[in-house]
């Protein structure tokens, strides 16, 4: 079976400075993969490269065996690649419901969209209470819920979430991870980026450790606990 998302030897970055220096990752349907690593080492850049917001310099991105390296952002979304960016990036003057509906922009079946909307409201009841409010009036936790909910609205086959726990209270973080756990279905793969690896240990099936633009270690969640590389990277052992 081909991987829903496969990246090989990605090199990309901003202006003249490459950030990613040959990154390879493979996502598996029905699994959550975690990408961890210190800040400023290319985790967000990797997601932006995968979604197409940053052009690829070299390497290859495949979805279900099909090369999408040169495909523009909106068409990658059409193929089921959903990127939930850091800092939510909501449409501030649109209502919560309109934001969620924008998430389903490429879906034509309005009946199915309404059903997904109800599902999102079931996962995050707070969003249902706030559905008519503008997104800019939400609290930090609510905005993150709206961001995740908007990503779920696309019913994509690959979901990439950038730092879902950043700056949130533990209770809200628990709720958001519960939503991600529910979102993994047999045909959906999820990639979660976190700076703090402990969040991912009970959730992710596989962990990638990124340092200075490279994947320096990868393995299962169980292996992560025993790995000294993880500590070495975080404590500056290299």
């Amino acid at each position: 079976m081909t991987a829903p998302l496969l990246a090989r030897d990605l090199v990309s970055g901003y202006h003249a400075r490459p950030v990613l220096q040959g990154v390879s990752v493979e996502l598996v349907a029905g699994r959550i993969a975690g990408l961890i690593g210190p800040n400023g080492h290319g985790k967000t850049t990797l997601l932006r490269t995968l979604s197409g917001s940053i052009p690829l310099r070299s390497g290859k991105i495949e979805m279900n065996g099909e090369d999408v390296s040169r495909v523009p952002v909106c068409d990658r979304v059409g193929r089921g690649l959903v990127h939930i960016p850091q800092g939510d990036q909501l449409f501030g003057d649109l209502s919560v419901e309109e934001n969620l509906r924008m998430g389903a922009y490429l879906r034509d079946d309005q009946k199915a969209v309404r059903q997904t909307l109800d599902e999102v409201f079931t996962i995050f009841p707070r969003l249902a209470e706030r559905r008519r409010q503008t997104a800019s009036s939400l609290s930090g936790g609510e905005r993150r819920m709206a961001g995740i909910g908007r990503g779920l609205m696309a019913e994509g086959r690959v979901l990439m979430v950038d730092e879902p726990s950043l700056g949130l209270a533990p209770l809200v973080i628990e709720q958001i991870y519960e939503a991600l756990r529910q979102a993994v279905q047999s045909d959906r793969a999820i990639l979660v980026v976190e700076e703090n690896p402990s969040r991912l240990l009970g959730v992710a099936d596989a962990i990638y450790l990124m340092d200075a633009g490279r994947i320096v270690w990868s393995g299962s969640a169980a292996e992560t606990v025993n790995s000294s590389d993880i500590l070495a990277t975080y404590l500056g052992g290299h």
């Binding site: 979604s51 917001s53 523009p72 952002v73 909106c74 979304v77 059409g78 959903v82 990127h83 960016p85 800092g87 990036q89 909501l90 449409f91 501030g92 003057d93 649109l94 309109e98 509906r101 924008m102 998430g103 922009y105 490429l106 908007r150 696309a154 700056g167």
Partner: protein
């Protein structure tokens, strides 16, 4: 009473023309973040298109209006396809595109000068006659101008607020990158916005030329006033631009009547300076709140 009605009618007519001109300008600024220096020429081209084509298709106003709007939309779309599109992702987009559209305006103005000459033609596409309201004679053309502006601006408001297409435009204006991540082809949204704003400008050009005359430089003054209106309203604020256009039209008519025609524009400019000192973000603009 007569005087009041006269001022009201003049002010609303001016305001209607300003609104058509500035709503399009605000829409472009709000969505693409660019100041379209060629907007005045979009108006001029609309006026000339109605002038030269309606002779073949009939001099009735609806036909002339459609021609003007189609010509404005076409030039808007072409401006996007041939110029704006290539600058969007480059550095210093705001400055570059302003210089480029200013250059385009000069070029188009010279082309019109070459084709039609500098002779000020009268616009044949207009409604003749007057009606009397409480003893005051009102030209039918003024009524037409106000009606056309109200209908077109209501249509734009409906489009932006009540349709999926409008929601996509608003979302793209708020956050382009996020809109892309939803699967929106934002370059196409920009193309549509340029077409819409161009159509409004074309209609504005036809209306303006029906009260004054056609000349290659006729768009300069309305562009300046539309810019003033957008600044007073808050750059990129479409609703504010519509309201401010009517308010400034009424103000200009009052000042022109009370103090003389030559004081109309200076008072408008003075008002802009005051607004910029008192509320730099414009009357309807919001201060940018940066949140992490």
């Amino acid at each position: 009473m007569d005087i009041l009605i006269q001022i009201l009618v003049t002010g609303l007519t001016l305001g209607a023309m300003y609104a058509l001109a500035s709503v399009g300008l605000a829409l472009i600024f709000g969505t693409l973040g660019m100041f379209n220096m060629a907007h005045g020429l979009f108006m001029t081209i609309g006026a000339y298109a109605a002038f030269s084509l309606s002779g073949y298709l009939g001099l009735v106003l609806p036909v002339g209006l459609l021609i003007a709007m189609a010509a404005g939309a076409l030039i808007g779309v072409l401006t996007h396809l041939l110029i704006v599109r290539f600058m969007l992702t480059g550095p210093n987009f705001e400055t570059n595109v302003m210089v480029a559209t200013a250059g385009l305006a000069i070029l188009l103005q010279d082309v019109l000068l070459k084709i039609f000459g500098a002779y000020p033609f009268t616009q044949p596409v207009k409604v003749e006659g007057t009606i009397r309201l409480a003893g005051v004679a009102i030209t039918l053309q003024s009524v037409v101008i106000v009606a056309v502006a109200l209908v077109l601006i209501s249509a734009i408001a409906f489009l932006l607020l009540r349709t999926r297409f409008g929601m996509t435009i608003r979302a793209t204006a708020m956050n382009r990158e996020a809109a892309e991540l939803m699967g929106v082809r934002t370059t196409r949204v920009y193309l549509q916005v340029m077409g819409l704003a161009g159509a409004l400008a074309g209609a504005a050009g036809l209306m303006i030329s029906s009260l004054t005359t056609l000349s290659p430089q006729m768009g300069g003054d309305p562009l300046l006033k539309a810019f003033v209106i957008c600044v007073v309203a808050g750059l990129g604020n479409v609703w504010g631009a519509g309201i401010c256009a009517f308010a400034l039209g009424l103000l200009e008519a009052t000042v022109q009547f009370e103090f003389g025609v030559r004081f109309g524009f200076p008072v408008m400019l003075l008002l802009v300076i005051l607004v910029l000192v008192w509320r730099p973000q414009g009357l309807f603009g919001r201060e940018r709140v940066v949140r992490l």
